[in-house]
């Protein structure tokens, strides 16, 4: 786990809009990913996650900058880079009008996978799809389609796997199954997701992206250290919530306030600040007060 397998250098992508203006989807993105690493990309809708994955998988050309995949410049040697990657997008990318087996067989032939019959049967068994393999994909459930798409991604035997929102729309069991499988892949994985739990469980390193810019990047430990510095408190306050929020915002011992339904989530800088907080709260009708550990979601909401 030493060699850098993916590197980007000032990767920028502009899209032209209908009115002739352009919008920057990626702005000078610089990341590097080591071999065997599971790298997570977190960001809201429209942050630039899919654009970055599309460029790194040769589907899009950047406006400027470049990327290196396993030593090959993506713009100059796309074929060499392609020989190392496989991709699973948010959609399942399957032919619905042919059977599951025919889908896997087709992609195996295109990607030159040897002994594909045995491999397909083996992986289908592992994924619990063996009974459905000879049915049309149009009859599969969403979870089964995603499992089949994931089977295809693994069958192609590439060293770098790009997964763009692989758990969207799936039930808890399927998410848990796919998460476990990703963990066991033993390859370099570039994963983008909205699902904080998945990212938190899987990724060695995490990057936060918003409006085309990488805001924070680091190991799980680094990210957790960022979070540990803060103390998060959820306060349920049915009345005068906005008044309390405005009052709290005036104090510099509070790092951040997130307003959610009847709750205010407050991040205190230090434990010593509890005293100051209580002195403010005594004037309000607080129905619940919960101190909890910071999650990735807290950091995400704070950063974005």
């Amino acid at each position: 786990m030493t060699q850098k397998i993916i590197e980007t250098f000032d990767l920028t992508k502009d899209y032209k809009l209908k009115n002739g203006k352009s919008i920057t989807a990626l702005n000078k993105v610089n990341i590097s990913i080591k071999e065997g690493e599971i790298f997570g990309l977190l960001g809201p809708n429209g942050a630039g996650k899919t654009t970055l994955i599309s460029i790194l998988t040769t589907l899009l050309q950047p406006t400027s900058g470049y990327a290196i995949i396993d030593g090959y410049n993506l713009m100059k040697n796309p074929n060499q880079a392609k020989a190392r990657i496989s991709l699973m997008l948010e959609s399942d990318m399957l032919y619905y009008r042919i059977t599951g087996y025919d889908n896997l067989k087709f992609f195996c032939k295109i990607y030159g996978v040897s002994n594909y019959k045995e491999k397909i049967n083996k992986i289908a068994k592992e994924f619990g799809l063996e009974k459905w393999l000879n049915q049309y994909v149009e009859n599969f459930s969403t979870g089964m389609k995603m499992k089949l798409a994931f089977c295809r991604t693994l069958l192609l035997e590439r060293s770098i796997i790009f997964l763009d929102e692989p758990t969207v729309g799936l039930d808890v069991n399927t998410v848990s199954f796919i998460t476990k499988r990703i963990k066991d892949i033993n390859k370099t994985v570039f994963l983008s997701s909205h699902n904080m739990n998945v990212i938190e469980k899987l990724c060695d390193r995490i990057a936060f992206i918003n409006q085309g810019e990488i805001l924070k990047i680091g190991t799980q430990e680094y990210i957790k250290n960022l979070m540990r510095k803060e103390i998060n408190i959820d306060i349920e306050i049915p009345k005068n919530k906005n008044k309390l929020k405005s009052e709290l915002e005036k104090h510099n011992f509070i790092n951040n306030i997130v307003d959610k339904n009847n709750f205010l989530t407050i991040s205190l800088k230090k434990r010593e600040n509890f005293k100051d907080l209580f002195s403010i709260l005594q004037n309000y009708e607080v129905t619940r007060f919960i101190e909890r550990e910071s999650s990735l979601e807290d950091l995400f909401l704070e950063i974005i």
């Binding site: 599309s54 998988t57 040769t58 496989s86 991709l87 990318m93 032919y95 009008r97 030159g112």
Partner: protein
């Protein structure tokens, strides 16, 4: 480079990918068999009217250009087969739009896959799918107006080259269908005009002088005229020597159009990607 091209393993690998595409496309087509059957019957409608008109016409005029009561059915049977092959042009946008809908195209394009596989995959799968009605009309034509074995080979070869030209056109239409839909419709309109002035279903001699002048500028007309002349003259060498321009146009288009198709596909796809999800 040359060594690599003739490397047996490389050729085998490429053929295997094209065959995989053909197999997948044929299976997709056979999913709705009745729809497929309808697509075979539809071109018959386009030749019914000329058959009726010709039949009546030769009552009053026994010879019109090279066409007469004895050979006019060959004209229409060839028209049917050309129309079947012409389906390739529509097949590319249809298939690529299906790939767009299923988002399967990115999975192919990030793989060890080039656009020639796409071209030949759709090309051969269409030939497989239309083979039954194509052979049926070809055999009927042969029974009605027998030709030598050598002429049969020449005609099948010409049909093959025509299909290749249509594939190149189809690939151009296909990439615009997924990238620039407005321009695709505009191109479809232009292509319809070109085909209208190519004498697929009505002979050149039927048209007034001004239209004939326009038809004379249309390269497709020469190709379709060439294949009919090969059949009714039943001597390929004679047809080749007396209509060498027709032959040159056929060969030129069969090489240039697919190359242009792949070039435009690469350019447009890289520039615009898939638009309109």
């Amino acid at each position: 480079m040359f060594k690599r091209m003739i490397n047996r393993q490389v050729i085998k690998n490429r053929l295997s990918k094209i065959l995989a595409l053909v197999e997948k496309n044929v299976k997709l087509k056979l999913r709705f068999k009745f729809a497929l059957f309808i697509s075979f019957i539809t071109p018959i409608i386009s030749i019914l009217m000329p058959v009726i008109i010709f039949g009546q016409f030769f009552e009053f005029n026994p010879q019109f250009g090279p066409w007469n009561r004895n050979n006019f059915l060959i004209f229409t049977f060839i028209a049917y087969n050309i129309n079947l092959l012409k389906g390739i042009i529509a097949e590319f946008p249809t298939q690529l739009r299906m790939e767009k809908f299923w988002k399967t195209l990115p999975a192919l394009l990030i793989g060890p896959f080039n656009r020639y596989y796409l071209l030949f995959g759709i090309f051969f799968s269409h030939l497989v799918v239309i083979s039954v009605p194509f052979i049926f009309f070809f055999v009927i034509g042969f029974i009605y107006y027998p030709i030598s074995f050598f002429t049969v080979i020449a005609i099948l070869g010409t049909f093959f080259l025509i299909a290749l030209i249509f594939s190149g056109l189809g690939l151009i239409m296909g990439v615009f269908a997924i990238s620039k839909e407005n321009f695709w419709k505009f191109l479809s309109f232009i292509l319809n005009l070109i085909f209208w002035a190519s004498c697929i279903t009505y002979p050149f001699e039927f048209f007034p002088g001004l239209i004939q002048d326009i038809i004379n500028l249309n390269p497709l007309y020469y190709i379709f005229d060439f294949i009919r002349l090969i059949w009714i003259e039943n001597n390929f060498i004679v047809t080749l020597t007396t209509h060498s321009l027709h032959f040159y146009i056929l060969i030129l288009l069969a090489i240039v159009i697919p190359l242009i198709g792949v070039y435009i596909f690469n350019k447009i796809y890289k520039k615009y990607g898939i638009v309109g999800y």
